[in-house]
């Protein structure tokens, strides 16, 4: 926070035209979605309330600011030789917490947008779980995909 304040003050002194002068918005990827050990043909489910394996994004911004949260979710991960491993996300796989505590989330469907309000001190966290669905003949190797969280500042 001290560092952010310093940067803001420096920006103001240098004449950066911050016409809307309030706390800036920072969205940070904190923890990735971790599936752990899986077996071919056995789906692996991670709950958004899983403190070790769920994905987490932290948001810092103006107090009580409204933001619109939406995800771009991959349908599959791409592996060796173009092999695919399906991923799926269902209603309730995402959660939002003003207190940033994983145990006090309001669940939402990551496939739809969700309006969140930052806390009285301008904080919030987004948690996400999901399902990996390896096939019975899933090819070995490295699989990759990208999960995107879009934070739209309202208005």
């Amino acid at each position: 926070m001290k560092r952010e304040s310093f940067i803001l003050i420096a920006a103001l002194l240098l004449g950066v035209p911050l016409l809307a002068q309030s706390r800036p918005l920072t969205v940070t990827g904190v923890r990735g979605l971790t599936f752990g050990a899986v077996l071919p043909g056995v789906p692996r489910i991670i709950l958004r309330t899983d403190p070790a394996n769920s994905g987490q994004f932290d948001i810092r911004g103006p107090n009580r600011k409204q933001v619109l949260l939406s995800f771009v979710l991959p349908a599959a991960m791409i592996g060796p030789g173009g092999a695919l491993m399906p991923l799926s996300f269902r209603a309730g796989d995402a959660g939002y917490s003003q207190s940033q505590l994983i145990g006090s989330q309001v669940g939402f469907d990551p496939r739809q947008s969700f309006t969140a309000t930052l806390s009285n001190n301008g904080r919030g966290s987004v948690f996400v779980g999901g399902r990996a669905n390896p096939a019975t003949n899933q090819r070995a190797g490295a699989y990759t995909a990208t999960i995107t969280l879009t934070v739209t500042v309202l208005p």
Binding site: T26, G29, P155
Partner: protein, 278 residues
Amino acid sequence: MRRVFAVAAILTLSGAALDAQGVMVAPHAVFIDHRLRGGSVLLYNPGTEPVEVTISTIFGYPVTDSTGAITLRTVDAPDSTLPSSLAWIQAFPRRLTVGPRERQTVRLLGRPPVGLADGEYWLRMVIAAQAGRVPISGVADTTAIQVGLTLEVRTIIGVNYRKGPVTTGLALSQLRAQIVGDSLITRARLERRGNAAFIGTIRQTLMDSAGRVLDSYQSPIGVYITMEPRLVNLISPSRLGRGRYWLRYEVVTEREDLDPTVVLKAPAVRDSVQVVVP
């Protein structure tokens, strides 16, 4: 069975050991005056790894769906009926790398067409930043499945370009409210007036039949065209006894998160509705 164990894997989507990564964006709303025709956004990387950032622009404005949830309506190719500045405001650079604990500035330059009418014109700036990547490594068994998921964050902020006299206002109608469990749920139709977005705050006050204030709530709101937002607030105390209550609903052009000089003034609008707890 052996094959099963051979293929069994550690599936890690970006890994628990992810270094926190992201980018700070300031300000979170940009207002450009036609006389200056430019603005800027500061990006700061508070992390320890460089962050690749891509800048783009879209046209969109908040609306509500049939349930009252707020969404961003985007239009790929806005026509002349929409107050879009997408065609003539440029952001640069479009790609940049922000080093650890470094800051960089993205500039916005307006080149409006000759004869542009007075009013407010909108676009949204999209700041896409890598938010973390876990290297796929560390599994000695080459028959294993390994998965690494790159996290990306897109921050979308509003850019409002104002030319000449700009005015705003609001018409409030169809106010309704109900108490469901421990929540007060309200909806109202908000229609913007004037030639600029109405940026303000909804203030709600719940009173008993004697006019005593039981609770009050505030929600920031931006009405670009028309919307009918559904607001849900927890009631304190959590349970109201049977009876009749009043909800006072007021929308004012006040915002604590914005510089008052960029918030257009307009008369407050208000209404009240009775709420019955059976």
